[in-house]
Amino acid sequence: MRYSIFSLARQALNYHKGWEKAWRSPELKPSYDAVIIGAGGHGLATAYYMAKEHGMTNIAVVEKGWLGGGNTGRNTTIIRSNYLQDASIAIYDLAHKLYADLSQEFNYNIMFSPRGLLMLCQTEHELRGFQRTAHANRIAGLECEMIDRQRVKELVPIINDRDDARYPILGAYYQASGGTARHDGVAWGYARGADQMGVDIIQNCEVTGLLRDGDQIVGVETTRGTINTKKVAVVTAGHTSHIMQMAGVSMPIESVCLQAMVSEPIKPVIDVVVMANTVHGYVSQSDKGELVIGGGADAYNNYAQRGSFASLEHTATALVETFPIISRLKMMRQWGGIVDMTGDRSPIISMTDVKGLYVNGGWGTGGFKSIPGSGFVFADTIANDRPHPIAEPFGLKRFVRGEFIDESVASGVAH
């Protein structure tokens, strides 16, 4: 059923009784050409592109809970591609470009909003780091620019631009095409798209085992039965180690709690997305009027989806200093998501030593913005059983070779 203002009007006459299900609730079949574990954004995007680009429609996406209920529904919805390293630029730029057309492609409004994103420069060191990134991005063809304090103030009128601030605003790195999208909409859009092409999305189906025959993956055990398949893709952000261990594969990953919070809704005060790396916080205002605030991760392994007040406090304190009006606003809700942190803080999109077992995880704090690109190259990797060129640098073998993709070098963090 196509969505449009006309279909809305038609349905309104009938008190909206004619709407069909956004996706099916199919029964699990005993075998599939491929099984994707995890119906988050990345897993659903992978299924969508496997069906769309590679004609693989006899596939299942199995999900422990409800689709889009993990980190896809818990992030701060920021989209940007202004990374430093070539490998990162490639995948985030692909994602960014795909994002721009998703609403029309899905016939489902994901509310992609390129409202502009700026990363503040608050120390000379940070300024130099972003200058380097700016040059690298320009060479890569991204439209980004360094802007001065005056321009920052114009874009973010509520910013503390005092000279005597502890961390004065020296400028910012601005990506006008960066922005946000509606996180649930992305998951639901991919789900609807994949479902329409015949992909079975099986919710409330927890994976309890991965079956191997020697070096070959042969099936998945779930709470709803065993599935025979020769291809299994693990896309379970936050739980990658746990699932991979079922196939006897260890991962260079630790899972930690990343926190976020929102304020009560207020009338618009900030139109762009602002990231302040020196003081560790980022903020944007949602269409409902809430300030959406992202902060740091706890320093210890945690699967509780509840973080420490300390890391939240650190972020909120930084934002009160950076945006003084926040002081008299109120924090309405906080939450945590479990993210996979790899050794170099860059993701893993990889084949494994087990034939037919593929893994996509370790996105750390960058998962949401990469969903379309990640799904696209991972689908290609699975369909062709070889790494997509954009996925290749993110392979597991980089940890043996020492060929890390270290983005923290760009954020001005001295090692």
Binding site: Q11, E20, G289, A318, R333
Partner: protein
């Protein structure tokens, strides 16, 4: 009934909290109004005849208050002006003070006439999730056209202007037992817990203890509950092991019984804030045990247009009358499915408020209180439900209530009657306030009898008592309170009160009252009042497959409003259950995240704002620096002078002057921030061998050596000069930013890996002021100051050190140089630092001494091709990459990072290597980070780039692919507006032989 005064007369007996001798004046939406001391803003506005206090989020429908406290979803207001304005306060919670300025929200141009109401008239086009289905064409219109309109219409209150003038603070407290909630159960728990001397805290969100004791009718020990509460409150506040707090909300329960209490100190009396008292205080409490006595909150019931001003909870109506002497209206109707509403009926009747009748969905309920109501002459109507309301004045005024026989599950209404009334007090049962129970993982379970979720299990040392635990009778609340208190504080010898147990008729859940006409069509049955989520929206979500309760919530925004589902979660799940034919627990369970109620970010920041936001570390000469220059540079947490412009000089001119002065005369630099670590023990040499890439074993006492440190991944992490003080004793210098990190790094290796090594490490950075005196005249300056150290090149050659005395100051003197000039670094205890600095400047005057800042330092070192860790390196760079293979020992069997240096990628040919760059145009200074591009690919970047006044040309260093083998090649750096060409050269630009420093 807009415009009619609702204040009950003094002789009605109503209005317990009012002090009618103290009138207060205030404004609401610019209109001057009067209330009394003791009023809330909500009660005062109502007393002035105004029932509409806000507009809803999506449809802009007029709304009045519905609750009595912090869970209020409708009556949200802004209080204060300018930088003291606070949006989104619950009028039901705001204590009135004289001169208060308040405004309603989310309306334009006014509360009574809001153009946003157009949304209500077009609401059939805006079902839940409509925005996912439209606004997609043309492609750019979402961001450029639709979204800006939506954004401007959304949001609630208006943020304050500028910087908050008030202060905030935090306090860390430990206690044995924290009791949350000062109602009857909480007071009993606190009494018992404190009986044996345990440290007990009890706090309540409201300005007073007692919970709803004052609006309850049962007796404790034959006394009114209020009297009993007064006695308990007095005895607890008098006890020296109990801390009693009011206006204090526990907003979160975190790991290991860590709780946050949000205390409001001055909001009720701004004079206190003006006098300097902190506005809010966040208490960070580590409690041994926690007892939750957070009470229960009443549920509304769902009927058509159940959001109209005048529809309120039964408890809110009772509170208005009993505490504030305000009638909810002139003639009311009570709509209930449980006994509690009968207390309201009696209370209202007693105070002279008209009651048309009680409509009870239960078929034939029997209990003492029902009989009492009937005996008082109140008409009751069982087995019926309110089906809707008749309104006027654009929905702002209720004229009559539609009542129909109620049969569960039946879609159509028959035999409807209409009763005139202007308000409805609704009671749909009570939900335990178990939010804090859930914050750290406590589980809930569905209770069929009470029709609510109540606490089940928890991993922490936390108990929950009273109505928060689903125990809805007074005797049970007291019993659980005392029991939990004793469990936490030990057996208590307390006289426990007697309560006559009164039997109640059971509650009968009713999630949905059908309206006249076709089932649910065209009528709005509101579930989430603030977000305008209707029963139809929830059904639509089911129809479209957003079946999981989490999907439903996200699709419809149910429970996402500022009350965070306090009013809507359970009724919403009830509706979903009915719509899908499931039992409520099958639909899903509900959970709650912090905070319990929204609280100020100011309280989270506490004292840490402005100059206390983050520390600035100061060297002993800091005040002198800031008296000379305002150009300070953050280096880690330190602030260091960047340069010292004089008499209108530009920064660049100052830097050039400082550099040339070092090259030609002598300069002085405050290098106190450099990390200094003493390392001593029989294995100290071996330890250094393992920490540094290069060899330290052969170093002689009194000599210094430059060392490189890698992390275990083989990447550079720090560098510095280490001096050997004695056979088993070294002094290590680190980078300024690395001092603490490296000290911890050394300790970590000694404690966790190489604990067999006998080595002690003590950081001494803070002990010393250290100054670099650099330039051809450096020795002359020191000689003039006078020293017992032989300063000659022969006695103290380059890379030697000595201990002694200069100008009467105890010093350590190092012949080390980061500028390439003859250079001494002199260290003296920090408290003498300023005086030594002054004396050096004085003595150096005749030799042309001048201070130089960090930028001159950087240019001086770049001219010499010295790297700065963090500039030339970025965490992916090995010693080989920066041309320092000479400092990487091949002999030592092991040191940190050695093995990783052999990983494939780190040994690959063609890595980026450090080179110097000489731009073809010597006047062209490459920007930092400029990209080297070859055949369209990025093959390197500039790491440092400066104008060298010494060489009168630009110099730069860069990491370039295979750079060290490409000396003499030209390479281009395309910028946004031009291309800069440069020749790859040796990174040492000046005095390659090192002759100048070795004199």
């Amino acid at each position: 009934m807009t415009g009619k005064p609702y204040r009950l007369p003094d002789d009605s007996g109503a209005g317990r909290l009012l002090d009618r001798s103290k009138p207060l004046s205030f404004t609401f939406d610019g209109k001057k109004m009067t209330g009394y001391a003791g009023d809330t803003l909500a009660s005062a506005v109502m007393a002035n005849g105004r029932r509409v206090m806000g507009r809803s989020f999506k449809y802009h429908r007029p709304r009045g208050l519905i609750t009595m406290g912090s869970e209020e979803p409708n009556a949200l207001v802004g209080v204060g002006t300018g930088s003291r304005r606070e949006p989104n306060l619950r009028a039901t919670q705001v204590e009135l003070f004289d001169g208060m300025t308040s405004v309603s929200q989310n309306r334009w141009p006014s509360l009574d006439f809001d153009v946003g109401i157009i949304n209500n008239h077009m609401s059939r086009l805006f079902p839940s999730g409509f925005y996912y289905k439209t606004f997609m064409w043309p492609k750019t219109f979402w961001h450029k056209v639709y979204e800006p309109v939506i954004r401007n219409a959304a949001g609630l209150g208006v943020a304050p202007d500028g910087v908050d003038p008030d202060s905030y603070e935090q306090v860390h407290v430990h206690c044995d037992v924290l009791v949350v909630g000062g109602g009857v159960a909480g007071l009993a728990a606190a009494q018992a817990a404190a009986a044996n001397g345990k440290r007990v805290m009890i706090c309540d969100e409201t300005p007073r203890l007692g919970g709803i004791a004052d609006i309850s009718n049962e007796l404790i020990d034959g006394k009114s509950q209020l009297d009993w509460v007064r006695e308990q409150a007095a005895s607890l506040t008098a006890a020296d092991n109990v801390h009693v707090m009011t206006r204090a909300t526990v907003i979160g329960h975190y790991h290991h019984n860590y709780l946050m209490i949000f205390e409001r100190l001055t909001d009720h009396n701004p004079a206190l804030a003006a006098a300097g008292a902190p506005r809010h205080r966040l208490w960070k409490v580590r409690a041994g045990k926690v007892i939750l006595a957070s009470g229960a909150s009443e549920r509304t019931m769902t009927f058509a247009n159940n959001d109209r001003p005048g529809v309120m909870l039964s408890s809110a109506a009772r509170t208005l009358v009993e505490r504030y002497g305000v009638a909810p209206g002139l003639m009311g109707l009570i709509f209930a499915n449980n006994d509690d509403a009968y207390i309201t009926a009696l209370s209202l009747k007693r105070s002279g408020v008209g009651i048309a009748r009680i409509v009870d969905v239960r078929e034939n309920p029997q209990s003492e209180i029902i009989t009492a109501a009937q005996d008082a002459g109140i008409e009751t109507m069982f087995g019926h439900a309110v089906a809707g309301v008749e309104t006027s004045a654009g929905g702002k005024q209720i004229d009559a209530v539609k009542i129909a026989p109620y049969v569960k599950g039946r879609g159509r209404v028959v035999n409807e009657i209409t009763v005139p009334a202007d308000f409805i007090a609704v009671s749909g049962g009570w939900n335990p306030v178990a939010h804090l129970w859930c914050h750290n993982g406590g589980k809930l379970q569905w209770d069929d009898t009470l029709a609510c979720f109540k606490p089940k299990s928890h991993d922490d040392d936390i108990a929950i008592v009273g109505s928060a635990n689903g125990t809805m009778d007074l005797a049970g609340c007291l019993k659980e309170g005392y029991a939990a208190g004793e469990k936490a504080g030990g057996k208590a010898r307390l006289k426990k009160p007697r309560v006559v147990v009164r039997k109640q008729a059971p509650v009968e859940p009713m999630w949905f009252s059908p309206a006249t006409g076709k089932y649910n069509e065209g009528n709005k049955h509101f579930i989430d009042l603030q977000n305008d989520v209707t029963a139809a929206d929830l059904e639509l979500a089911q129809r479209e497959g957003y079946e999981s309760v989490e999907h439903t919530k996200r699709y419809t925004t149910l429970g996402m409003a500022t009350d965070q589902g306090k009013n809507s979660n359970v009724p919403g799940m009830g509706i979903i259950a009915e719509a899908t034919g499931k039992a409520v627990p099958e639909v899903g369970t509900t959970t709650f995240r912090p905070p319990y109620t929204p609280f100020s970010f100011g309280a989270i920041a506490g004292t840490q704002r402005g100059k206390l936001f983050h520390v600035i570390r100061r060297t002993a000469v800091y005040d002198w620096h800031t008296s000379q220059t305002s150009v300070m540079e953050p280096v880690g947490d330190w602030r260091r002078p960047y340069c010292y412009p004089q008499g209108g000089e530009s920064q660049q001119d100052a830097i050039n002057r400082e550099i040339l002065n070092v090259r030609n005369n002598v300069g002085i630099l405050d290098a106190s921030t450099l990390g200094k670590i003493e390392i001593k023990g029989p294995d100290a040499g071996e330890f250094l061998n393992r920490m540094y890439t290069n060899m330290f074993a052969g170093l002689k006492t009194g000599k210094c050596r430059y060392g490189l440190m890698m992390n275990e991944m083989g990447f550079l992490m720090d560098d510095g000069v280490t001096a050997k003080l004695a056979d088993d004793h070294y002094l290590m210098h680190t980078t300024s930013g690395g001092a603490d990190r490296i000290a911890a790094w050394l300790e970590e290796w000694l404690q966790t890996e190489w604990y067999d090594l006998k080595v002690y490490v003590t950081p001494v950075t803070e002990q010393w002021s250290q100054f670099a005196i650099a330039g051809p005249n450096a020795r002359k300056v020191l000689e003039k100051l006078g020293s017992d150290i032989d300063l000659s090149h022969e006695a103290l050659p380059f890379m030697a050190m000595a201990t002694g005395d200069i100008a009467g100051f105890p010093v350590r003197l190092f012949r080390i140089s980061f500028s390439g000039e003859l250079s001494f670094e002199v260290a003296t205890p920090a408290n003498y630092g300023q005086d030594l600095w002054d004396k050096i400047l004085e003595a150096g005057k005749e030799f042309g001494i001048a201070p130089y800042g960090t930028e001159a330092l950087h240019v001086l070192r770049a001219e010499k091709g010295f790297i700065v860790v963090g500039d030339e390196t970025d965490g992916t760079v090995t010693p080989h990459d920066v041309g320092m293979s000479w400092a990487v020992s091949k002999k030592k069997p092991d040191y940190i990072g050695k093995r990783s240096l052999e990983q494939a990628f780190l040994t690959e040919p063609g890595r980026k290597q450090l080179v110097g760059l000489a731009t073809t145009d010597p006047n062209e200074v490459l920007p930092d980070g400029a990209p080297a591009v070859e055949s369209g690919k990025l093959t390197g970047h500039v790491t440092s780039s400066y104008w060298s006044p010494t060489l009168k040309r630009s110099i730069a260093m860069a990491l370039v692919k295979n750079g060290s083998e490409r000396m003499g090649e030209k390479i281009s750096f395309p910028l946004a507006d031009k291309v800069i060409e440069a020749e790859i050269v040796d990174p040492v630009f000046y005095d390659k032989e090192g002759a100048r420093q070795n004199v």
